[in-house]
């Protein structure tokens, strides 16, 4: 396989490619938790990332929680924990109310 005809690829999970330095990476983790925390309550969940240990903590309102590694796992965990399909194109995310599209 040739590695010289392309450009260098960002290391790590693709969602974390926007930060190259350690301070940027930490800032990005806090921002990610903030974005998730704005989205997940609509699904009856909350997100926490203290920046100390790897992973994102997803919790239900009843206190059950799971720690996942990356964003791909967040959505799988959210479906598992709520028993509902997650869809960013359902009405609650496109301005049409709380019901799923």
């Amino acid at each position: 396989m040739c590695s010289s005809c392309g450009f260098p690829a960002a290391p790590g999970h693709w969602t974390e490619a926007g930060a190259a330095t350690a301070p940027d990476r930490l800032r990005s983790r806090f921002r990610r938790a903030q974005v998730l925390q704005a989205i997940l309550p609509a699904l009856g969940l909350s997100a926490h990332d203290g920046g100390q240990v790897p992973g994102i903590q997803i919790s239900t309102l009843s206190g059950h929680h799971e720690i996942v590694r990356d964003l791909d796992e967040v959505w799988a965990a959210a479906e598992r924990m709520t028993g509902k399909k997650i869809d960013p194109l359902d009405r609650r995310f496109i301005g049409g109310g709380d019901e799923e599209a």
């Binding site: 392309g6 940027d24 990610r32 989205i39 997650i86």
Partner: protein, 320 residues
Amino acid sequence: MRLTVLGGYLGSGKTTWLRHQLHAGQFGDAHIVVNEAAETPIDDALLSQAKQLSVLAGGCACCDAKSQLITLLREICDERSNIESGGKRLNQIVLETSGLADPGAIVDAVCTDAVLVHHILVIEIVVAVDSLHALDQLRTEPLGRRQIETADRLILTKVDEVDTEPLMRLRATLAVLNPGASVSAAIKGSNSDLPSAIGDVLPEELPDISGATSRPPIFPARIVLDDTIDWTAFSVWLSALLYARGDDVVRVKGVVRTPAGRLLLQSVRRAVQSPEILPEQTNDANREDNVIVVIGRGYRAEDLTKSLRSFSGDRADRTD
């Protein structure tokens, strides 16, 4: 002038393969023509090694943009004719089609054009086949089958990402669809060996979809990431979109500016490539950064933007 048509389904690895061929000195001084169905071209950013490059964006060259393709090819022929004898004349064109194109329709258009038929000889239709996703596509997408059927040469891409048994089943299925085509393999564009056969692997029994009209058409949507949308919010949203809609969102590509540089984002269904870090813009000042093309079906284009805005903390009902 010889014309090679490079086709293949959305995300099948056409540009990656062509990029490596150019790097390896194949196609010499060929004029590369890149066709993209979306208005915002991305693939040309990867083909900087081409000596001459033309981009045909905003329509598929086998249908919507057929006349633009013919015009462009005629212009290339005119330029060549104007070179005095003794000068170096172009003798090769490589046309990379959009992933939504039927290469056969393009070849028909070239061969039946009153001017081009005297200047251009179609020497080969090369079709890239995504080893990871091709069997799924062949089960449901008539276009995917047409692309295979028109090929002279099939390049199985991403063969390092799939097990031997499904790869052999794909190969057997391709042999049923197009027994005359040669088959080879590539990893990131570089030639690779196909694994030797493991017993008798039967081809996939493909359902009859010749009259299928029930699925909505695949279309490109353009999403502008303005200053209110940072990479983190965008990646949270896109990861959710691909998780939920990865069967319908066939392809995502674009260049996003981040603190880590200009990231080339590409996905095929749920598989997202590690973003390549592009150099700062030099001679491609017209390139639109922070514009993402989402190619798929089963949703409304405006809902993508609304949903992204709600993920980035903006009001969901705000539009561009």
